[in-house]
Subunit: 348 residues, 2 copies
């Protein structure tokens, strides 16, 4: 396989997603004579079957090819990134009390929390099993280096998740942009951008120094991605976006937008916003969600976040271009640069 | 280190537990300048710090030594078994709605379900990170074989857990001893006995054929262990056992004891038992739990389970002695044989 055919970024995303999905469906077990185990296998397929973007595997394959590697060698690893995304989303949806994921009820809404936790654990195990496959494909040493990247990544993801959950648990609202930044780098940026780039380069034979050059760029681009996600959550089209619009306000999520609002509005308004945000999800009236949204619009918080995301993505674009100017021109490199724009222009 | 000093089985368990615990505490992160991450590290230490039995690592080290290996080589793997136990228990306690674990409130009772799910995920990641350490200690090839054993094991554990959870979810009570057996082999026997034996032997250089000889014995002993656990849950001393006595009845758990009762008592009694078992935990009156317990005693269900556990453990004892009669006499072998008795004689 080569990525060098004439394709547009969005077509490339779609094509990659199709290939990685097929690879994952071939890997995940699909039938068992024991009816309960059979049902478990079906549940493990639920989130992977939903229409995700497939951004992370695409980044991994593109960077692998841009560094002169064969993207086929990165297939297990790209699929493992997608499996990480899926187990983490199942647990994240429970932890946040979410309703919708990719346009359908969340797994725990369909089957209850106990079963959904365990299905997430099942996919988590499958992620490591997928990574074990690298031993045959790439040899033991490289396979181990990739597994170590995933170990570091997983540590970041759970730590970032804990920071966010503990803000909710301890009713913390006195947050700064720096707090958001720390949480977001750990929770989102590492697995959305930094690690997909690093492992793609690693598989292509990049040095440790080259891999480390992705840290700053990955942070900027990954945080830009999350901010855009938070913006879409407030002003997106539910059918396109796939989650409930305003869901972050229902869930009391500490987004950059909310942090900007609380640090910009009057004390009385801030108290009212916190009062609404602190209510349990079911107790929040749509009018109250609208009230918070109106204040966000009034104080330019959404606009601020959009600009922040654009600046970060622009920085990432420049960093990539300058840092890796020595890489030969390739369509993979071109598509990756175009993807950076997609990160902040997307509507889903 | 050698296990060949003159020690009794219980002393050996205690000593091994101390050493593996120290190894795990040295491995798990213990401090971070970011207060929320610091708190997360403390929560990951919570279950490992509680007084577990350390049976699984002990089995792994003993079998390694009985096969002529150096137990020091099995330390990472024994510690990974203990980490598996801990992440699985955190999630299991949420899934079962349990109150107590090892004499203290369950993690989700202390910090809420969202944070506890994520702490379990954190320890799950740490299990694989611990297994990655085997590359330096044992070389890539052996490290990968061990990781593959853990992949298979993890698949069994989540599948067994799903079988049990789906019985609860679909209100199934028409279960046979064969149903219990299938669930219990997957959920408990694999990680309590079969895999600890297999990886211990693998590290000592045993062949695949030799490892496969542990499958039958591990099933028998592992199921015996679980049955004894279910017996203790009903008639143990809460302070010694560390969980609430009768908790399995509160949780509506399908134990061998309950399955025996339902298949032995009258239809009217069975209907009444199912009615009580189906109630939500909080709605169950202590008198109703006692009612079920009295019926179990009346129909000899607890006695039946005890005998079943004894027969299974005796089979395991004979199987081990016969199958591995070619292993030279060693104290490790002796202690392992003594441990088999502990499996069904223990009170905690």
């Amino acid at each position: 396989m080569t990525l060098m055919s004439k394709v547009q970024p969005l077509e490339f995303l779609k094509e990659t997603k199709k290939q990685i999905d097929a690879y994952i469906f071939d890997f995940l077990p699909s039938g068992h004579r024991h009816p309960e185990v059979h049902q478990f296998y079906e549940m493990m397929l639920d989130y992977p079957l939903r229409a995700g973007k497939g951004l992370r595997p695409a980044i991994c394959l593109l960077i692998c090819e841009a560094f002169g590697g064969n993207p086929r060698d990165a297939f297990n690893t790209a699929a493992a990134l997608e499996l990480l995304q899926n187990w983490a989303l199942i647990h994240d949806d429970i932890e946040d009390g979410s309703d919708l994921r990719r346009g359908e009820p969340c797994l725990h809404q369909k089957h209850g929390i106990p079963i959904a936790i365990n299905v997430g654990d099942g996919l988590h195990c499958k992620m490591w099993e997928m990574l074990n496959r690298n031993a045959d494909l790439l040899g033991y040493e490289l396979a181990f280096k990739i597994a170590s990247e995933f170990s570091q990544l997983s540590n970041h993801v759970v730590e970032g998740q804990h920071i966010e959950l503990s803000w909710v648990d301890s009713n913390r609202w006195d947050l700064t942009e720096a707090d958001y930044w720390t949480m977001c780098i750990k929770k989102t940026a590492s697995y959305t951008c930094t690690t997909p780039c690093r492992v793609g380069a690693l598989i292509a034979g990049a040095s440790k120094n080259e891999m480390d050059l992705f840290v700053d760029m990955g942070m900027n681009l990954g945080v830009a991605f999350q901010i855009q996600d938070d913006v879409l959550n407030l002003i997106g089209e539910e059918k396109v976006y796939g989650k409930e619009i305003g869901g972050d306000i229902s869930e009391g999520k500490r987004t950059l937008i909310l942090i900007h609002l609380l640090n910009t509005c009057s004390q009385t308004e801030a108290n009212r916003v916190i009062e609404i945000m602190n209510q349990r999800r079911a107790e929040k009236h749509p009018d109250e969600i609208q009230e918070v949204l109106d204040l966000m619009k009034h104080y330019g918080s959404i606009q601020y976040a959009r600009q922040r995301a654009q600046t970060l993505a622009q920085q990432a674009y420049t960093q990539f271009n300058q840092t890796f100017s020595y890489l030969p021109a390739s369509q993979a490199k071109d598509i990756f640069l175009h993807l950076i724009h997609f990160f902040i222009e997307r509507e889903y």
